[in-house]
């Protein structure tokens, strides 16, 4: 009796296993097939940011005119922020006049997020909203920013600002809103689309072409070739933050 029952049970288990596997395959495939059909209609316009690249900026301060604010204007209009001179107004990029009182030497330089490799804003962020992309661009994920402003305190370049009022009329590519911290994004949608940041484009068009954008990891890129031939400094290099923005002629 026992012997004759055994094959029956084994057969049942096989059947069950077969139906289990067939069901799992059907579940996995049926939605997948339609998904793939839909997916083909919208391939990504940009590949994932890769650690092989490190985006950087070189600013030739000898070419930067004190009277010119083309980079600031371009940033403001592309990203949709306005600085009307109030203390809490955003300033993703600003012109700073540096001078040595003992000699009278003076330069006007644009200062923005320096896109540090060892960014203090990323270190202090309690939620992970302040983060560094694989290609070195330091950003705020406003979806998870709680507006604590630790990053503003931590940044030695005062590169970030806080949105304290309700906004309207934001640009589709640069969402901004009350209660979150913001700063230079190196025009990340443009960079992802294979273009240069708005400030660099404006500097080339209206200014003296003082800004060079490129891949610091690529020895053949214009920025690396320039860095190889001219002395350039990082602001507050003593902090060892390994900034992505470099200044020539300071």
């Amino acid at each position: 009796m026992r012997n004759s029952a055994l094959p029956q049970i084994a057969c049942d288990q096989d059947r069950r296993r077969f139906f289990g596997i067939a069901g799992a395959v059907a579940l996995a495939l049926a939605p997948g097939v339609s998904l793939i059909a839909y997916a083909q209609s919208d391939a990504p316009t940009s590949a994932a940011a890769s650690a092989k690249t490190r985006w950087g900026l070189l600013i030739d301060t000898t070419q930067c005119k004190p009277s010119c604010t083309a980079c600031v204007t371009a940033c403001s209009s592309y990203n949709g922020w306005k600085n009307e001179g109030r203390p809490t107004d955003p300033q993703w990029i600003r012109k700073v006049q540096v001078s040595d009182p003992s000699t009278g030497f003076s330069r006007s330089v644009p200062v923005m997020c320096q896109h540090c490799a060892n960014a203090p804003c990323v270190e202090v962020c309690p939620t992970g909203a302040s983060f560094k992309r694989a290609d070195g661009i330091v950003l705020v994920d406003r979806h998870i920013c709680i507006g604590c402003r630790y990053c503003m305190m931590a940044c030695p370049y005062k590169a970030r600002s806080f949105v304290s009022e309700n906004l309207s009329g934001q640009k589709p590519w640069a969402p901004r809103g009350k209660g979150t911290v913001e700063g230079c994004t190196l025009c990340v949608p443009r960079v992802d689309a294979g273009k240069v940041p708005a400030c660099v484009e404006a500097c080339a068009r209206e200014g003296n072409g003082a800004m060079t954008f490129g891949d610091l990891n690529d020895p053949a890129s214009p920025i690396r070739r320039a860095l190889a031939h001219h002395p350039a400094v990082q602001l507050r290099a003593d902090l060892m933050l390994d900034t992505g923005v470099r200044y020539e002629g300071l």
Partner: protein
């Protein structure tokens, strides 16, 4: 007698079923028509899963730089928001705004549009319209293909056991304090 016992509940059930059709207290949402031929996913799938897809695409765009033209919030807006008869775009608070048509019906509030614009903007083409060459096979397992594999896994999980949004390193990298857009009315 037995027949009456059967008929009474049947009539009652039919009445109950007929009430929403006649018109309940809350009017059924009138969903504004979209401009495109079809959505980026089947409509029935989107009704259930659009929030998961948006979260997935949002993470990939912001943190990984994988951007899509149609599959993005501006892409949704471009297709689903049209000018009203008076030539203006509907306010985000209005029921005529695509998202609100259903969200108000189910009592769900979203805060996407305190930061994101609710207007379709042709300038988006200028910002992100340049197509890069497709990612090389060797470069990055996190390319679009992997994203679709995760989306497929997401659907499989949804139709089976507990929903899981993603797999692999993606989930592990997601930072803490991840704020849910849709806190109420989640099925």
């Amino acid at each position: 007698m037995a027949a009456i016992r059967l008929i009474i509940p049947t009539v009652l059930l039919a009445l109950i079923a007929a009430v929403p059709a006649v018109g309940g207290r809350v009017p059924m949402p009138k969903i504004p028509a979209a401009k495109g031929a079809h959505c980026v996913r089947p409509t029935q799938w989107m009704r259930r899963n659009h929030m998961k897809l948006l979260m997935q695409l949002r993470y990939e765009a912001v943190h990984e730089g994988i951007r899509h033209k149609r599959e993005s919030l501006p892409g949704c807006i471009a297709c689903h928001v049209s000018r009203l008869a008076d030539g203006k775009y509907p306010s985000v608070k209005s029921r005529k705004f695509f998202c609100n048509a259903c969200h108000q019906y189910v009592g769900t509030r979203i805060d996407c549009f305190s930061c994101h614009t609710n207007r379709p903007d042709a300038a988006y083409e200028i910002a992100d319209g340049v197509r890069r060459p497709p990612p090389a096979a060797s470069e990055g397992q996190r390319s679009g293909t992997a994203a679709w594999a995760r989306a497929v896994a997401m659907v499989a999980a949804d139709s089976g056991s507990a929903p899981s949004r993603s797999g692999g390193a993606h989930g592990a990298k997601r930072p803490k304090g991840h704020r849910a857009v849709n806190r109420r009315g989640r099925p």
